[in-house]
């Protein structure tokens, strides 16, 4: 489960394992801070997300604006057909996103944070978080469509 979290935030398997390694050490060090009021798994997952985000923040181009010329605005995806895709393939797609988009998408869709919270966590404004999220979705939609057309999954 924890490696799955790291895979979503990392850009490849090697980077995800580096996150996991550091995350385990962090969990071991901070274990005394855990209060049994919540699930241990959820707490470990939160620590792991924080470790991943801390790594991503260190990278300079974290939230740089990326030209999205190749994304078409009026794209209609056939969501029903997406169910056949395997999770690994979806992870690979997320990993292809720019780091900032990837973080916003993961935090909002998978980890359930709001845009306000994301703005607080990533030290960005609401105005930055929302368009990054919609651009991430467009990129993923485009990738899913290309995969579907090429039927390589």
């Amino acid at each position: 489960m924890l490696l799955g979290v790291c895979l979503r935030y990392g850009s490849n398997f090697q980077e995800a394992e580096d996150f996991l390694q550091e995350g385990f050490v962090k969990i071991y060090e901070d274990l005394y801070q855990y209060r049994p009021t919540g699930a241990l798994g959820a707490w470990m997952r939160k620590v792991m997300v924080n470790v991943c985000l801390m790594h991503l923040k260190k990278q300079k181009q974290f939230f740089s604006t990326i030209e999205m010329d190749y994304i078409t605005e009026n794209h209609e995806a056939h969501d029903d057909s997406f169910e056949s895709y395997r999770a690994e393939a979806l992870i690979q797609m997320i990993q292809k996103l720019p780091e900032g988009y990837r973080a916003v998408f993961n935090l909002y869709v998978i980890d359930g944070y709001t845009h306000k919270e994301i703005a607080g966590i990533l030290n960005i404004s609401d105005v930055t978080s929302r368009p990054q999220f919609s651009r991430a979705k467009k990129m993923l939609r485009n990738m899913l469509e290309n995969k579907l057309v090429n039927r390589d999954l």
């Binding site: 997406f82 998978i110 404004s125 993923l140």
Partner: protein, 410 residues
């Protein structure tokens, strides 16, 4: 409210419980870098928190014990004081009774003297006798003797009555009954009532007045003597209030640089004096000058987007100096800060780089205004600087003003 479209739901369902197997050598890579086992209380900050907690609980228990003990002592001392007051009142009443008896006795004796020796009614005879050097000197001697014998009121009364038997006329006796009033009134009354008497008689009457006045003042003299009783001095020493505890409710506003060190964007830095703190402090007053202060303060650091909330536990020493009702104080010490949470609006957020615990070094100068012996109001500007890193490897600086009200257990 979140509105997920199909794409979001698809990703959410597919990846929510996604798990993958790490490499076989993953654990072998983690094992060497795991730090040694943390101490039983966690980090040194965690340990410090335990000690601060124990100190606060200990201080409170000791304070309550001291308070209860002082209440017992106050009850006991009140009993002693009441008994002494009763004794003083009894003695005063007895002296008044004796004085009244003496005056009655004087008037009776004078009546007898008048009947036995008519020459005493003759004003000229009295004048002659008062004019004589011998009598005047005996008068002075008598006065001196009275002064020497102040410590024994009964002796004085005896001397005075002897004197009265020899020299007082009826007019003078009637005048003496009014001598409990002020000296001015007495002198003027004496002069007016003896307007027909020779001048030398008036002077003599003044002498009588001063002597009798001394007599009437015997009660205050006695009271003064009783307050200097060694027994009462001992009681005063017992009432020394130090060491003692006092409690202080405190709150105020402050400015800080937490926003600046968390956020690189300058537009998110803290607004001056928009942050606030409030709490309760316990002072252990060692003497009139020195005291140790601890307790709890809730701190709310406000930045443009977020509110960061900390529990803080100060341990401070304070030195006081000043005047009757205005007392200046200087204080310094450390403040342990432990993070509660951070909020953006009403939603909780996680600020990943922010330290959960940090310690400040704090200094302040302030002034207390005494309302009554137990209660004071205070105003206190202060500054603090963190001893360890708070966010992004940087330290926090704060300054502000506190207002408080202090209650001392007497």
């Amino acid at each position: 409210m979140k509105e997920n479209d199909n794409l979001e739901q698809f990703f959410q369902k597919s990846l929510e419980d996604f798990s993958a197997e790490p490499s076989n050598d993953m654990w072998a890579r983690i094992e060497p870098i795991i730090p040694p086992k943390p101490p039983i209380f966690g980090t040194w900050l965690g340990t410090a928190k335990w000690f601060v907690g124990l100190f606060i609980v200990g201080s409170l228990s000791f304070g309550i014990y001291q308070f209860l003990e002082s209440q017992k002592e106050i009850k006991m001392l009140s009993g002693i004081i009441e008994k002494q007051q009763e004794t003083i009142e009894d003695l005063s009443a007895r002296i008044n009774d004796e004085r009244t008896n003496e005056v009655v006795l004087n008037s009776t004796n004078l009546e007898k003297n008048e009947s036995n020796n008519p020459s005493l009614n003759n004003e000229s005879a009295l004048t002659n006798s008062l004019e004589s050097e011998t009598n005047y000197s005996s008068n002075n001697n008598l006065k001196a003797q009275s002064n020497r014998n102040q410590t024994t009121d009964n002796q004085f009364l005896t001397n005075n009555s002897t004197y009265s038997n020899q020299y007082l006329t009826e007019k003078e006796i009637s005048k003496e009954n009014e001598l409990d009033q002020s000296e001015t009134v007495i002198n003027s009354n004496s002069a007016s009532s003896n307007s027909n008497a020779p001048i030398i008689q008036k002077e003599q009457l003044v002498q009588h007045t001063s002597l009798f006045q001394l007599n009437t003042r015997s009660i205050p003299l006695f009271e003064n003597q009783s307050t200097s009783n060694p027994r009462e001095v001992k009681v005063k020493k017992t009432l020394n209030p130090f060491p003692r505890f006092s409690f202080e409710g405190k709150g105020g506003v402050f400015a800080h640089n937490l926003g600046k060190i968390i956020y690189s964007d300058s537009s998110k830095s803290a607004n001056p004096f928009s942050s606030w703190q409030a709490g309760l402090l316990i002072n252990f007053e060692l003497n009139t000058r020195w005291q140790v202060q601890t307790g709890f303060l809730f701190k709310n650091f406000k930045t443009t987007n977020t509110q960061i909330r900390y529990n803080t536990f100060p341990i401070l020493t304070q030195y006081r100096f000043g005047f009757k009702n205005f007392i200046l104080h200087a204080k310094s010490g450390i403040i342990l800060n432990t993070l509660i949470d951070a909020k953006s609006g009403t939603e909780r957020v996680v600020i990943s780089n922010l330290q959960s615990n940090f310690i400040d070094f704090m200094g302040g100068l302030g002034m207390d205004f005494r309302i009554n012996p137990s209660t004071k109001l205070s105003i206190e500007p202060w500054v603090s600087y963190s001893l360890n890193q708070v966010a992004n490897g940087k330290k926090a600086f704060q300054f502000g003003v506190n207002l408080g009200a202090k209650y001392s257990i007497q």
